[in-house]
């Protein structure tokens, strides 16, 4: 058993250090999809989160509870719901998005939207109240106040984005159900790990697992750095 693992580990290491094209193509696909999702979600969540934090409106506490619940939404459930919508017989079936990278991006956006939104809201809520009053006192107009605020909480915002990215890159349910694990197209690190393991290609799966861990490590390092800078 020990020998099997050591041997596999060495082969996996060889694949990584030998820059195996197939391996790195899967990594590239994963990164591309997750980066796209994070970019779209961040553009939506930062302004929305600020509006949510600064405005009072009826039903705000209920919406906050729903958002909190959605943060823990299982990835397969997101996959399942979107499968129903994007599948041939679904409401958006005509768009023929199922088993495309676009479908995976949509799925990941839905998955990380509540996470980033919630983190942006809490960053805005816990920010120093003097930020706003100081910028107003310095003569900032409405837009200028917002720019100053975002700039001031930028590290907390970055931390929110990085946390969302961590969730997106490591998820498997959406990628599997909406991407379909098509080789060279929608195969990501997580779906490939499952497939390769079941095929008996443990070394390849292990190499991907190690690279995924590396990505997680970098993401965590960034998260810690941003959280420290935000203090």
């Amino acid at each position: 058993m020990n020998d099997f693992f050591t041997d596999s580990f060495l082969v996996a290491l060889n694949l990584i250090l030998g820059f195996d094209i197939e391996l790195y193509y899967v990594v590239w696909t994963s990164l591309k999809i997750s980066f796209s999702s994070i970019l779209i979600t961040s553009f939506l969540c930062i302004p929305l989160g600020l509006v949510f934090a600064f405005r009072n409106f009826p039903g705000k506490p209920v919406l906050q509870s729903i958002l909190n619940t959605l943060m823990a939404m299982p990835t397969v459930v997101v996959g399942l719901l979107l499968f129903g919508l994007l599948g041939r017989r679904g409401a958006f079936g005509e768009l023929e998005l199922l088993y495309t990278q676009t479908a995976m991006v949509i799925g990941q956006c839905v998955l990380i939207f509540p996470i980033i939104l919630n983190l942006v809201i809490s960053a805005a809520n816990t920010a120093d109240p003097r930020i706003r009053s100081t910028s107003v006192a310095l003569g900032a107009g409405r837009v200028q106040q917002l720019v100053i605020f975002v700039n001031e909480v930028r590290f907390a915002m970055m931390a929110a984005i990085v946390a969302g990215f961590g969730r997106a890159i490591g998820e498997v349910g959406v990628a599997m159900m909406l991407g379909g694990n098509i080789e060279g197209y929608t195969r990501t690190m997580t779906t490939a790990i499952i497939l390769e393991t079941s095929k008996g290609e443990f070394e390849f799966a292990l190499a991907l697992g190690m690279l995924l861990l590396l990505v997680a490590f970098v993401v965590n390092g960034l998260l810690e750095k941003f959280q420290k800078l935000n203090k």
Binding site: D128, R130, I131, S133, T134, S135, V136, A137, L138, G139, A140, G141, Q144, I148, N151, E152
Partner: protein, 332 residues
């Protein structure tokens, strides 16, 4: 003199409670005005309103004879420099903090950088220019915040509790710093603080704020002179005042009006300061009567209405003025 501010029937409510209720108040241009009052008395609320950060629930404010409304409030805000209590510095170097107000006004980068560095140099803060807020002490943050307000060359400078977060030596240093900052400027300065005596020393005019009501405070008795350890007296040049003890470097003392006793005849008491004099002026305010007595130096005193009933003082009357040596506070 022009009034820079005129407030009439101004009320401010917080959560439905009346926190500020000012019948009439005007602040002359170029004066320095201290607002004194305990925590929660409405000082910050008043200053926020004078800095145009908030608007009154009722009444009106005139700024340089123009009524302030929703349309011009933003413009007026840019003419006032406001250093808030426990000021906040943005997460950027000090010089960028100082030039931020100019940047918001669209001043060209070169010009605003030069002006920011100029004001920092003028206030002796050039060594802080590249530092960030978390590397500064409370006193330094206070000074940078003042520089950030001054660089905008505001017509009015408002400081909310500038001494609260400073220790004794930093407070004294900041007092001198404020004097330095005011040199050569003709701004109106309005600041709030707890300490009546410091307010009297620093400001041309002192207002007390009690339960949201603004009351102009009469002067405390401040005297410049020299202390002699041999005689145990402070010589003002016109009279000697006994102190419990002070260093030879003592140059300024204060006697609070409420600590002074007036009597028709000399009192046989433990009070070590007792002087004969004459009433020069008097006026009543609420249930109290303010009496000014000349005993070589003019002393301002406050007696109750009941005491006035008994003494029946009138201008020109001979009177004895007494106070304990403990009632004398050494200012510096």
């Amino acid at each position: 003199m022009t009034a820079v501010y005129e407030l009439k029937d101004v009320q401010f409510r917080f959560d439905g409670n009346l926190v500020l209720d000012i019948g009439y108040c005007s602040i002359e241009r170029g004066r320095s005005v201290a607002i004194v009052g305990p925590n929660g008395s409405g000082k910050t609320t008043l200053l926020n309103m004078l800095a145009f950060l908030s608007k009154p629930a009722r009444g009106y404010i005139k700024y340089l004879q123009v009524s302030v409304n929703d349309r011009n409030r933003g413009d007026f805000r840019r003419r006032v420099g406001y250093v808030q209590q426990n000021p906040y510095l943005f997460n950027m170097p000090v010089f960028e903090n100082v030039e931020l107000g100019l940047k918001l006004r669209g001043t060209a980068k070169k010009v605003r950088r030069r002006r920011a560095l100029d004001i920092l140099a003028q206030l002796g803060l050039e060594n802080l220019a590249g530092r960030r807020a978390h590397e500064l002490s409370g006193g330094e943050i206070q000074k940078v915040a003042l520089a950030r307000a001054l660089v905008l060359e505001p017509e009015v400078l408002i400081l909310d509790e500038p001494f609260t977060y400073l220790d004794k030596s930093s407070s004294f240093e900041f007092e001198n710093f404020l004097t330095l900052a005011r040199n050569g400027r003709e701004q109106t300065v309005i600041f709030s603080l707890h300490d009546h005596i410091r307010a009297q020393v620093l400001a041309d005019e002192v207002c007390s704020i009690i339960d949201g009501k603004l009351i102009r405070e009469s002067s405390i008795n401040l005297f410049h002179g020299r202390f002699s350890a041999e005689t145990g007296c402070f010589d003002t040049g016109r009279m000697n005042i006994r102190l419990p003890g002070a260093g030879n470097s003592c140059r300024m003392i204060a006697v609070e009006p409420s600590q002074i006793v007036l009597s028709r005849a000399e009192l046989d008491s433990s009070m070590r300061n007792s002087f004969p004099g004459r009433v020069t002026s008097m006026h009543s305010q609420g249930s109290n009567v303010h009496v000014t007595v000349d005993v070589g130096e003019k002393f301002h005193t406050v007696i109750s209405g009941a005491a006035q009933e008994a003494l029946k003082l009138g201008p020109g009357d001979a009177v004895w003025l007494s106070f304990k040596s403990n009632a004398v506070k050494v200012i510096r």
